[in-house]
Structure formats: structure tokens, C-alpha cells
């Protein structure tokens, strides 16, 4: 049976934990705002890039298309990039991404395809290496970069393109968490190679107009596609970061609330016990007085 002092200590310790979770929640909220802004600011660039490529792709579809766009005709070897966070305390955020990726990977393996994995972020690596240690070919830790920039994600794109160019991968898919809203992040696969061109029709560009290219159409596409890959990865990672802070915020909010409930229950128990003890003492005193 815990003594009153033990209970007091326990309540104090839960209160201290609550303070920490509360502080973490507020930090996450502040960082979420910044991450959301960053993701939002990157969107016009990615959107324009996609529009331009879609425009270009119309002209060069067919056999002449660069392999990054059209693929190399095979789907035998897959490279899966799994992007998670570097830190935890964010509820099921990372597990969700990893689960989605794992389902996909297992499906591919069942189909007899070759699968290689690149992990971005420590948490995903920790979870995936238990099962696929021999398939992980590279791991990127983004925690060193305070702000995600194109330069920061370039190595990831380079690694993916190298795998593709060397024929070790035919299809490259990125798993990340799409930031749907603060309370909802959806693990989403995004196919990077061959490039997925959304049919975005820019309004009133006069698609019949003859474009003039400098240098040639193919050459532009040749330089644009790897860049587009980097931009796609960057915008996905930025969304991931925003999603991570959102998940952390709600996880910490839950923790704070749970701690509050726990403190309430413990206080009740503590007070009952204290009253019982006082009553017992009173009875003893009265009994002692009567005995005289």
C-alpha cells in the first residue's frame, strides 16, 4: 500500500511529465506553422515545373522520350524510397508510412520483383531494417539540415538516378506522408521514375503555338527531368515534415490530456486516503480521551 508521501511524489512526477508534453506540444505547434509555410512556398515551384514538363512531354512522347520520363520498358526491379521523420513522439505517424511501404514491398516481393530500399529519416530505417536489412542500400539522415533545401535532398535524387541509370532499378517509388490537414496525414506512394505526368492543361496557353526551344527540346527535358525529381522529393519531404509536426502536436495534446486525467484520479485517491487517515486519528484520540 502506497503511503501518502509516495502518492504525493507520484502526482508531482505526473505533473512534471505533463509540463514536458505541454511544452513539446507548443513547440510542435510553432514548428508546424513554419513547416507548413515552407511546404506551401514550395508548391508553386513544383506545380509550375510539372506544368512545364507536361507541356514538353506532349511533344516528345513516343520512342524518342528520355528514359526518365518513359521508363526503360521494364518493371522488374523496384527501388522504394521511404521517407519518415528522424524523431519519434509523434503517435503512429512513422508506423503508418512504414506499414504502407511494407505492404507495397511485400506485394512486390510476392510478385517475384527485385526490391531495394532507400530510407530517409532515422525512424523508418529503424523499423524497416528489422525485416529488410539486406535490401536497404542507403540511408539518409535529414536531421543535420535545419531547413530542407534543394541541396539537402540532392543526394537522394542522385542516388535514385544512379540506381536507375545503372540498370539496378526500373521503377522508383517514394513513400511519404501527404499533409491532408493538421489532424490527418495520409501515407502516399509517389512514382518518381518513370515520371508521372499529371495532365495539367494550362489555361489559354494556346497549345497550338509553336514553342521555340533553346537548346533543343530533348536537351531541356534531359536537364529538367532530374531537377524535377529533386523538386518532387523536396516537396514531399517538406510535406512530411509538416505532417510530422502535426502528428507530434496531436500526440502531445493527447498525452497532456491523459496526464491531466491521471492527476485528477490520483488526487481523488490521495484526498480520500488523507481523509480516512484523519478519521482514524480522530477515532484514536477520542477513544483515548474516553478511556481516561
Amino acid at each position: 500500500m502506497a503511503s501518502l508521501k509516495d502518492m504525493r511524489n507520484q502526482i508531482a512526477s505526473v505533473k512534471a511529465t505533463q509540463k514536458i508534453t505541454k511544452a513539446m506540444q507548443m513547440v510542435a505547434a510553432a514548428k508546424l506553422k513554419r513547416a507548413q509555410d515552407a511546404a506551401e512556398n514550395a508548391r508553386p515551384y513544383a506545380a509550375r515545373m510539372a506544368a512545364v514538363i507536361a507541356n514538353l512531354a506532349k511533344g516528345v512522347s513516343g520512342d524518342g522520350a528520355p528514359v526518365l520520363l518513359g521508363g526503360n520498358g521494364s518493371t522488374q526491379n523496384h527501388l522504394v524510397i521511404v521517407s519518415t521523420s528522424d524523431r519519434g513522439l509523434c503517435g503512429g505517424f512513422n508506423s503508418q508510412i512504414v506499414r504502407a511501404a511494407r505492404d507495397y514491398i511485400n506485394g512486390l516481393i510476392a510478385d517475384g520483383k527485385g526490391v531495394k530500399i532507400i530510407t530517409v529519416g532515422r525512424k523508418g530505417n529503424d523499423q524497416l531494417k528489422r525485416q529488410y536489412a539486406d535490401r536497404i542500400i542507403a540511408t539518409f539522415d535529414m536531421s543535420a539540415h535545419k531547413v530542407l533545401t534543394l541541396d539537402a535532398v540532392q543526394p537522394i535524387a542522385d542516388a535514385a538516378v544512379a540506381e536507375f541509370n545503372d540498370g539496378r532499378a526500373d521503377v522508383v517509388t517514394l513513400f511519404y506522408s501527404r499533409f491532408k490537414s493538421v489532424i490527418s496525414q495520409v501515407p502516399t506512394p509517389k512514382q518518381l521514375i518513370p515520371a508521372q505526368i499529371d495532365a495539367v492543361e494550362e489555361p489559354s496557353t494556346g497549345s497550338d503555338a509553336v514553342y521555340q526551344y533553346e537548346p533543343s527540346e530533348e536537351e531541356i527535358l534531359e536537364t529538367l527531368l532530374p531537377r524535377n525529381l529533386t523538386v518532387q522529393i523536396l516537396s514531399s519531404l517538406l510535406e512530411n515534415t509538416a505532417g510530422f509536426y502535426a502528428a507530434q502536436m496531436s500526440a502531445m495534446d493527447n498525452a497532456t490530456r491523459n496526464a491531466g486525467e491521471m492527476i485528477k484520479a490520483m488526487n481523488l485517491k490521495y484526498n480520500r486516503k488523507r481523509q480516512a487517515q484523519i478519521t482514524t486519528e480522530l477515532i484514536e484520540i477520542i477513544a483515548g480521551a474516553e478511556a481516561i
Binding site: 515552407a38 512556398n41 514550395a42 508553386p44 515551384y45 513544383a46 509550375r48 515545373m49 512545364v52 507541356n55 514538353l56 533545401t149 534543394l150 494550362e202 489555361p203 489559354s204 496557353t205 494556346g206 503555338a209 509553336v210 514553342y211 521555340q212 526551344y213 533553346e214 537548346p215 536537351e219 531541356i220 536537364t223 529538367l224 531537377r227 523538386v231 523536396l234 516537396s235
Partner: protein
């Protein structure tokens, strides 16, 4: 605005400039070029250099590195990998 060129300069970090201007001079990989309103559809990759945006007697200069420019009927879009505004000292 039929007599003005709509131009937007975007980097992955943010949209640096967006508006209607008279003329834009940009460093293409095959030579510097100027764009006025109603330019023919044109696309080029960019070299490292300065993008000059002229509007009336206002003049803004951005240093860009890597990227490309797309000119079509709806205006001009410069997608730069790195760009920052160059603040000119008064001569």
C-alpha cells in the same frame, strides 16, 4: 493588361517576384535575351547571371543560378533553383 508582361520568378523556397512589367532580361544558356509582352512561346535553360526586371523607371535585379524560363501567351515564368535579389548601390 494587354500591354504588360506578366512575370513570376519562383524558387523552391518561395515566389520571389510576381507582377506585370515592361521587360525582362534573362541569361539564357545560349545567350542573354530580353522578353517583351506578346513574345513568341519560348523556353530555355538559364545560365548563372542576373535577371533584370524593368517596369517604367523601376528596375529590379535578381541573381539566379540554375533553372529555366518559360515564355508563353499567359506570361513568363522563371523557375530558378537559387535566386536572391541584388540590391544595387547608388552610383
Amino acid at each position: 493588361m494587354a500591354d504588360k508582361l506578366h512575370v513570376s520568378l519562383v524558387t523552391p523556397e518561395k515566389e520571389l517576384f510576381s507582377g506585370d512589367v515592361d521587360q525582362v532580361i534573362a541569361p539564357g544558356t545560349e545567350g542573354e535575351f530580353g522578353v517583351l509582352v506578346n513574345h513568341a512561346p519560348f523556353m530555355t535553360t538559364l545560365a548563372e547571371g542576373a535577371v533584370v526586371i524593368l517596369d517604367g523607371d523601376k528596375r529590379r535585379v535578381f541573381n539566379v543560378r540554375g533553372g529555366f524560363a518559360d515564355v508563353n501567351a499567359s506570361g513568363m515564368t522563371i523557375l530558378a533553383e537559387h535566386a536572391e535579389e541584388y540590391v544595387e548601390t547608388v552610383h
